[in-house]
Structures are given as C-alpha cells and as structure tokens.
Subunit: 582 residues, 2 copies
C-alpha cells in the first residue's frame, strides 16, 4: 500500500537489494556484533519455544536457521528477528493437543503442516493485498490476547519446574493443578528456582555492576544478554556432572540430532491439513500482526518504512521454508528484535549472521544441548513471558473507551477460559460489533456562527448565532447504510421544533464518503423537505464527495437548493438581513 | 432512540393514546373510507399470500384481523397496514419446504411456530434497543433481495396459472420448469390470463375513464382499488356456475372454515422450534426493515415520527398475536400501506376498521371464498409483485458505488441461485466487508491555506500556501483500530519527503471519535516524531474528542506540542515570518 518511492521488479520482491548495494564496512561491524548477541539469545529460545510448543528441540533450532535468512532477503524491516516466538508456540501447543491431531502420534510432522499452511495463508493474504484489512485486530484485543496467552504459557511451563517426568497431559488445563502441586520434585524445583534467580541477576543487577567497573561497553552488553545461554549451559553441566537425569529423575532435553536439517516436504495427508487449517489461520493472523507491530516500532525510530503486503509475503516465505526444513511456524519476536536493535543491528545481515552462528553450534555442539534440564528452559520462558502480562492496562483502556475495555477484558478471560483461538475470535467479534454499533450512531450537531468570524460551531458547546429560517446541520461522519437512519431521524426531529424554517443546509465538512444508501437517503430527505416547503442545501462538500454526487440524481434535483463552497456563503445567501435570532 | 417529546409510561408503550384523545369526527370520516378501501384489498391479498406461503387460506385471513389491531395500539406509524406480505410469504414457503419441516406434515402449525419465534425475536431486539443496529442491511442489498424474492414468487405462482391440480413440489425449483410448461391446462390458463387482464384494466384505464365521467371522487377511488376483489369474486362465480373444478379440474381455494379464529398456543415441540429459528431470524429482520422503511416514507410526508425500537415491539406483538390466533408471520405491506395512505387514512383507526370488515366477511361470507380459482389469486400476486423487480437499478448503483453495485447484484443472484436466506446473508457479508475495507483506507490530505483567507484545503485540489517547517495533515475519518495503520504510514511517508520539517499539525476537524487503538497510535506518532526532533500538534479538535483526550497520556505528554482551536492559530504560532513556500 505504501511501498517506498518507486521500487521496481526485483527490489520490490527482495528489499535486501535496497540496502545491499550501499552496505559499508561500518555496517558490517555493527551487524556482526548484533548477530552474535542475537545468536546467544536465539539458541536457548529456540529450544525453549520448541518445548513450549510440545515439539522436540530441533524443531525450534531448525526454525531459527533458514526462516530468518529468507526473511532477510524479502522483509522490509531491517531489524526484525524472525524465528520461534512464545505466543505462536503456545498456539501450536494448543493446536497439537486436539485429540484428532494427537491421534496421528507425530507432533513434529503436524508442526510442519501447520508451518506450511501458515506460510500459504500469509502469501495468499499478501496476494489479496490484505495487509491493511487484518487491522481488525485492535490494540486492546491484541493486548488482552497476549496477556491471556502469557498466563497460559506460565501455567504450562510451571509443571516443568515443579514436576519430574516427561511431557504430561496437563498443558492448557487448570484442573490438574492440584495434582501437579502435590507431585512436585525437589531437585527439579531447585534447578528451576536457581535458573530464575540467575536470569534475574543477568537482567538487572549484573549490568549495573558492570557499568560501575568501567568495562568495555560492547563486552558489557554481550555479558548482559548472555544470561539465558549461561543459565541453560550451567544447568546442562550440573545434570551432566551429577547424573541428575538418572539419580533425581530430572527431565532433560534429550538427544538433539547433530548436523543440519534436510529439506523435505511435509507429509501429504489431506485430513491432517484440513484439521490444522483453522489453527493455521489464527497463527498466521497473530504472527503477522505481532511481527508488523514490532517491525514498525523499530522502523519508526530510524525513519524507515514497513510495507504491510511485502511483510505478509516475507513471513509467508519464512514459514514455508520452516515447513520444508524441519522447523515450526515462525514470526518476528519482540524481545529478540529489541535485543538485536539495541545491540546496534543496522540491516538484516545481523539476522543472517545470528542464524549462521546458530547453525554452526547445532552442527558442532549438539551434544552439549542434550542434558539441558527442562526446568532451566521453563525458567527462560517464564522470565521472558511475565512482562507480556499487562492486566492493569485493562482499567486504563476501560476509562478511555468503555467498549475497548470490555473487548480487552473479554479477550483476556476468553483466552483463559475458552481457549486461545476462541478468546481471540470473541475479542474480534466484540470489536466489530461495537464498531458497527458506534457507526450507526454518528455525531450530528446543529451549528451556528461564532459572531464576527467565519467559524461555525456546535450550538450546544459554543455561543453562536443561529437563524429562524435556516438550520445548519453538520454530519460528523461518512454517510453510509450504517447511519442514514439516525441522520434522517435527527433532521426530521430538528425541523419539527423550528416552525419558521425555510432552509436546511447540511454541512459536509466531515463527510468524505457517501455510499448508495446515503445518496438515496439524501434524495429522500430532499423530497420530504420539499413537500414541507423547505429547501435542502449542502455546504463545504469535499472534492471526492462532490465528484461522486455530481453524477447522481441528487445534484440534478437539488434546485432551488444549492451547493455552497463555504458555510459563510450559505448564510449570506439564505438569511434575510435583520437582527439574528440569538 | 428518538421518541417524540416526553412520552411517558402508557403513551410510550401504546402510542395510540397520543392521537386517540384528540380524535375528531372528521378524522373518523377519513378513516372509515380508507378502512373500507384497505379491506377490499386485504381480503384477496390475505388469501393469496397464504397460498404463496403454502398455507390454507384462513392463515392469511386470520393474520389480517388481530395483528393489525395490536399494531394499531402499539405502533408509532399512523398509516402502516400490517398483515401478510408477499416477501415474508415466500420466505415462509422456503422455510416450510425444508425436508425436516415437511416431515411434520403440518405446514399451518409450523407457520404458527414461525410467527411466534418472529415475534419473540422482534421483541428481544426491541429490548436490546437494536432498532438502529439492524441498519446493516443496506438499501442496495435490500433492493437486490426484494428483486430476487419477487422473481422467485413469480416463478412459484406461474404454476398456478399454467397447471391444474393441487399444490406441487415445484415451488422454488427451476428444474421442473419444462415439465410445468408441457402440462399446462387450458381452462386454468384462460382464467389466469383473464384475471391478469382484469387487474391491469382496474390499475390503469378504468380510473382514467371514471375521471372523464365526472364520477364522485371517493366512489372512483373505491372502484379503482377494488380490482383484486372483483377479479377474484368473478373467478369464484365462474367456477361456481360452470362447475369448472369438476369439469375442467380447475384448482380452487376450497373450504374456508367460517367463523373467527380461536386463540390457542402453537404446539410445544422443541425440535420444530429449533429447526425454524434460523428462518425466523431472517423473517424478523426483513419484516422489521421493510416495515420501518414504509412507515418512514409515509410519516415523512406528514412530518410524523417513527420510533425504531417501539416499531420492533409493535411488530413483535403483532406476530405473537398472529401465532396464537391461527395466522402466519406479518409485517407492514408496501402496496396496502400506500393504498391506505392515499385513500386518506389519518390514524390506525383505518386499520382497525379494515380488520373488522375483514373479520365480518370471514364470519358471514366464508362460503363465497370456497370456489375462488387459485389462478386468479396467482394473478393478483403477479400483478402486485412485478413492480418490485428493479434489476435495471443495479447498473445505476454500480455507477455510483462499485462495491454497493456488487453487493446488490450478488444478493439478487444469491437469492435466485442459493436461496432466500443465503442470498441475503451473502449481501450483508459483502456490505460489512466492504465497509471495513473502506474504513481501513481513510481519506487523509495534506492541507494548506488559501491565501488571504482563514480557509485550509487539500493541497492536491486547491492552490494553497504550504510551509517548509510545518506539515498540516487532515484526517478525514474517526481514528480507530480500523485505520491507524494507514494514518501512521501516511504521516511517516510525508515526513520522509520534507527534510526541513519541525512541526506536524494534525487537523482533527473531521475526527469525532478516537478509540483506544487510535489513542495509542497518536502517542506512538508523538514519540517517534520527538525522536526525529519534530513536534506534534493538534488543531480543530471537536468537543467530545477533546473531553476524551484530556484524560489520556497524550495531552499530558504533548508539550511543547499544543492543541490549537483553529488552524490559523497554529500557522501564526509555528511558522516563522518570511516568504511562504508556494
């Protein structure tokens, strides 16, 4: 919709070409540093979000290699970090936990189908140029959704910290909470709590301490960002040396196949594709909305532009490549992107470097990852996810706009009570209904003239001159099927109270669209007024509206009514000289 | 939403009290005459629309007695004629033809359930004050729907003119057309064609002839309106005297139980109620939308007011009484209301008189109705329905608004191809989608000052003064979740092209609502601009918007940005003196 000035051909499809030709040595320096920092975060996050989705660790790692590289070529954001993200991961977990999908006994294969469908849906939306239409997810709904999903994530991960043993059936179900709490396993709990303490240390006190020591700035940043990697590797070392997986039944990640992903197409099973289509639509929507929101935040800070339809295409390509390279659905991650941006990433070269480093570590150090305790990964997720819960904001939203507040609260509760997709759909439906409801009750005002000026204002808010023979009515919204009824009621109601009236002038300064229903309503108002010996006029009609009305029967039938350029012209022409009414 | 001035208690629920106390002898004279004319039309229409719905004749007659009387007490229209209507009748036929409903082998009982559900839904909508929300049916969709339904009616009735025998299975199915055409029955066809000719004679040439003969005006009106009754009675007489039902297998109405309807509650069968709920919702919507549209047309001609929510209640009551008095779903009929109005009806007393006359004739002359040929009734329906087909209007709608034209054509074709309800739903969905789509692409313009005036206009349409350090952007729509993305893109796009810019002033003259997403977007724009050393200002903020923004973080954080009352103030304050840019 808003591509940067004159992109053509290849540059349109591969925005990387826009910056690659001006790429400098300075840029490379910045990007290499940011890439290292991002890779340090990407490795534990990749494994952790795979676990959150109910998938083997390599699904998250593989999704962190080729997808960000494809995005780097096709995305319009210079700093978005694409890969596994927490909210998409919990949505994948929810989709995979449906009984019909479990019956395939192949969660990794189902994740590939999900990624393929997510990619195809995103590409289709790009082709249909739906980049703007998907905005029907309002901020409050998105916030309520994210808070609800984060709460579900916390619950689903808390069992990794409390309980030993392998994956259990308790994900996304609050009823097994008591059983969980009774079966807690002391060593696992200790690992989990120590991991959380370590992460909090790296997040707050440590960077402050380093700042005191006059440490080199880049090094301080690198140390500050490496908390997750250090905690996870420390956990792996502890399990390894004390044989905790054997001696204390601590759950670990297990064997990660060393080497790189092979390319292969996910199984062609129509039934599985059909069953996963609905969750894929929701994952695609959320992946897109979250990614573009994050991309815009960083782009605005550097006066860069994001093209919504190209983003749809780039994210679609990233998900399709995720599906053929053994990964899981991907999106732009908020925390990773902010880390990448603040570490100084200038272009997507940083993402390519991060992905390459991750690929190297999977290739050479896969063994190191085997004994990572799941409790440490759960701690990484918990610490990352808690800031996403913004329940207090609901009250502020409610104060500003009651309907938005209701939508935010309903989405939050809907996600927790009815499920991830159901909650989101509830929020979207409520927003659309309240939008239509509001549109059907437009703001309409009788206006008068501020004495001595050419300004016209609402008679109820300003002390203005009005006239017995002329009624000026300003319609503060586009005239469409949604509100013509209300407009008609308002006009007829005002006329009934003003017996000496001869002219009605509709002020169109706020009307920038009139649909067929609006036009017919205007014609009917004109005719009803005429029967009552009142003439209809229009003033301050905007260019595009005037162009449309000129083709219609309204303008032809308006005489003796006129269309005035300015309100002042209407008053001069229609009001007989004499003392004003008040 | 817009009740007349200070209605209280009983007057609110029974608007009849508003006119009954001022009722004069003159009013009575007018209403008696209009009542007689309307009754003459009501008798054949009642029987014909029952036949169209696939119901025995008394269903239509009974629906013409108590429902209009109840409406007379509760409705806010003084001239609306409530009873069986053609479009509702074809919808009833469609609902009753579903295999699950046919299996009950009791169409009359199902019609009572439909009427009960329609009444309850209307009352519920009134209670929820949805009088304005139901406007999501746009005029083009309503017109496409009516044209499509009229075409289905013509087809369903043509078999009564062509073929002898009883009800057949061919209603609403074009595939049996060839079979129908081959099996035509000459005497029935002759009766049908003669009936059509008679009706056309009464509709056009006869009133003109009578006008020539200087006949008393009231008598001329009465004769002109009695075409349907005379044609139908003439047909009955022909069948009676020539025994055509025996000798030529001409289908006749059959025995109409003499006497008045008993009051009784329709059968309590949960399954039947469940199956008929969806069609009842659609009938309720259409009954309401059509009735209010007609009521408004006549009310506007006499400066009277219609209260949408009270109409919902009155129509709901009329349908509920229809269901307990042996009738069928009712609504306000277009042709009958116009006849009633132009015959001089002053109040709903005319409807009460018409209903009483109909009740008397059912009580005393039921035998006369027995031998009415169905072909004559079909002719009455055909002549009434043909003017409702307005296919040529689709091209005009398309020219004025492409999306509205597509919606009208899709609804029309949808009704014919997929069915009545499906077509309507298709049209509504298309309208809502195009509404959201349009809302997401608001009109935004850079404005400048018309030299020597205080007027500000779009730089692309007028020759205006602009400034290097100040960018004035007018947002021509409410700022909501649907369009913030586009607004942000527009602003950042313009800034990128104007390097010396220091101030951005958003002109809010057309903004009458800002939702939570819009507010957050404004805050984000403000902060992004600040990082780029640009200050955000607002001008011409409307009262209600200002009230809301004052509570928000936006106004608190705006400084050094300001909120100006007029555009002129912003220019005086922000533009340094010197030669303007051009």
């Amino acid at each position: 919709m808003n591509p940067p000035a004159n992109p053509r051909g290849l540059e349109q499809v591969f925005p990387i070409l826009r910056w690659a030709k001006h790429y400098s040595r300075d840029d490379l320096g910045s990007d290499v540093f940011a890439g290292i920092i991002t890779a340090i975060l990407l490795i534990p996050q990749g494994i952790a979000y795979a676990m959150l989705a109910g998938l083997p660790p390599q699904a998250g790692l593989y999704a962190s290699i080729l997808p960000p590289m494809f995005y780097a070529f096709m995305g319009t954001s210079r700093t978005l970090s694409v890969g596994p993200v927490s909210v998409a991961a919990i949505m994948i977990a929810s989709a995979l936990s449906a009984p019909e999908i479990r019956s395939f006994q192949d969660p990794a294969g189902s994740a590939l189908v999900l990624a393929a469908e997510t990619g195809l849906i995103l590409a289709l939306m790009s082709w249909l140029r739906m980049g703007l239409l998907v905005n029907f997810i309002s901020h409050p709904v998105l916030r309520g959704f994210t808070s609800g999903a984060a709460l579900l994530i916390i619950f689903s991960q808390s069992n990794h910290i409390l309980k030993a043993g392998d994956w259990n059936e308790c994900t996304l179900d609050f009823h097994c909470l008591p059983a969980l709490l009774q079966a807690y396993q002391p060593v696992t709990l200790l690992i989990g709590l120590l991991s959380i303490a370590g992460l909090l240390l790296f997040a707050g006190p440590l960077p402050k301490l380093l700042a005191h020591c006059n440490l080199d700035n880049s090094l301080a940043t690198a140390i500050g960002r490496s908390g997750a990697l250090i905690v996870v590797l420390f956990g792996a070392l502890a399990v390894e040396t004390l044989d905790l997986d054997q001696n204390a039944a601590v759950a670990i990640v297990g064997a990660v196949p060393s080497g790189l992903p092979g390319l292969g197409f996910p199984l062609l099973e129509p039934e599985r594709w059909r069953l996963l289509l609905a969750p894929a639509v929701v994952i695609a929507l959320i992946a897109y909305v979250e990614s573009v929101a994050i991309a815009k935040v960083t782009a605005n800070l550097r006066r860069q532009r994001i093209d919504p339809n190209q983003e749809l295409l780039a994210l679609g390509a990233a998900n399709m490549i995720a599906s053929v390279s053994g990964g899981m659905p991907v999106a732009g991650g908020f925390s990773r992107t902010m880390v990448n941006f603040s570490a100084g990433a200038v272009t997507q070269a940083a993402s390519i470097i991060a992905a390459s480093l991750l690929a190297l570590s999977v290739f050479f150090f896969a063994d190191l990852l085997t004994t990572i305790p799941k409790a440490s990964l759960a701690a990484v997720i918990l610490v990352a996810i808690i800031p996403l819960i913004k329940v207090r904001g609901i009250a502020a939203t409610f104060r500003f706009d009651r309907n938005d507040g209701i939508a935010e609260l309903s989405t939050f509760l809907g996600v927790i009570i009815f499920g991830i997709e159901e909650g989101l759909m509830l929020g979207i439906s409520l927003t659309l209904m309240s939008y239509l409801w509001r549109s059907s009750r437009p703001h309409i005002a009788v206006v008068g003239q501020i004495p001595g000026t050419e300004h016209f204002r609402n008679v109820q808010r300003h002390s203005v001159t009005t006239w017995a023979e002329l009624l000026m009515i300003r319609i503060d919204e586009n005239l469409t099927f949604a509100n013509t009824s209300k407009v008609e009621d308002f006009i007829y109601g005002k006329i009934a109270k003003q017996p000496r009236i001869q002219h009605v002038a509709l002020v169109f300064s706020s009307v920038s669209h009139v649909d067929a229903t609006g036009l017919e309503s205007l014609v009917q108002i004109m005719e009803s007024l005429r029967i009552n010996q009142i003439t209809l006029h229009l003033t301050e009609v905007k260019g595009p509206v005037m162009d449309k009305l000129k083709q219609s029967e309204l303008v032809a039938g308006l005489a003796p009514g006129k269309i005035y350029f300015r309100n002042q012209d209407a008053v001069s022409d229609l009001v007989s000289p004499g003392p004003p009414l008040g």
